[in-house]
């Protein structure tokens, strides 16, 4: 039962990467793309955690934390770039 649930969760998460990718491609301005990439990073963190549940190993948890940290730093860096008058 848990195997079916984790597989369905993986499918839903991978399917929810598709609308975000469409928004990244067609987003009219730079902040749209930044927000969509932030959502994509949080979905990737969720996929890593579900993989931890599937295999029962806890060695990828550090990787999940690192992906979240890098996504936050990238968002802050792009926000500062826009504030200093980069392309909007």
């Amino acid at each position: 039962m848990l195997e079916i649930a984790t597989a369905a969760t993986m499918l839903i998460l991978m399917g929810s990467l598709i609308p975000v990718t469409i928004r990244v491609i067609k987003g009219p301005t730079l902040p749209d793309r930044v927000i969509a990439l932030d959502v994509a990073a949080s979905i990737v963190v969720a996929i890593i955690l579900v993989h931890c549940i599937q295999t029962g190993s806890l060695y990828y948890l550090t990787g999940a934390t690192v992906v979240a940290l890098v996504a936050f730093l990238g968002t802050v860096a792009l926000a500062l770039y826009m504030q200093k008058g980069g392309s909007s």
């Binding site: 649930a5 984790t6 929810s16 609308p19 959502v39 549940i53 948890l61 999940a64 934390t65 500062l80």
Partner: protein, 107 residues
């Protein structure tokens, strides 16, 4: 009993992530898209972390899961606030039908 709880939290978190990404595609405006992405994305991550903490019942896993939850609760509003402020200042327009612009009337 534990299995049912794990399955509930997993499916709830996945559906919340799906809601976040669909809102990021379908909503009409940068600011409404940011609202959808931040809130439901954070709730989805938190729910999946809780499912993982129940499944791998271990002290270090619970500690690191609480760390991930606290990290998301701290960083998601900060990032959304910085993006929204710099987007407004660089002139990204609001939706046509949005009725109030408090930042403009306050200045």
């Amino acid at each position: 009993m534990g299995n049912g709880l794990i399955i509930f939290f997993l499916v709830f978190g996945a559906l919340m992530s799906l809601v976040a990404s669909l809102g990021c595609l379908r909503l009409p405006d940068l600011y409404t898209r940011m609202h959808a992405a931040t809130k439901s994305g954070t709730v989805g991550i938190m729910s999946i972390v809780i499912a993982m903490m129940i499944q791998l019942d271990d002290a270090s896993v619970i500690f690191r899961g609480i760390l991930v939850i606290l990290f998301f609760l701290l960083t998601a509003p900060v990032a959304a606030h910085m993006i929204g402020r710099s987007a407004y200042r660089s002139g990204v327009a609001l939706w046509d039908k949005s009725s109030v612009d408090e930042y403009k009337t306050k200045k």
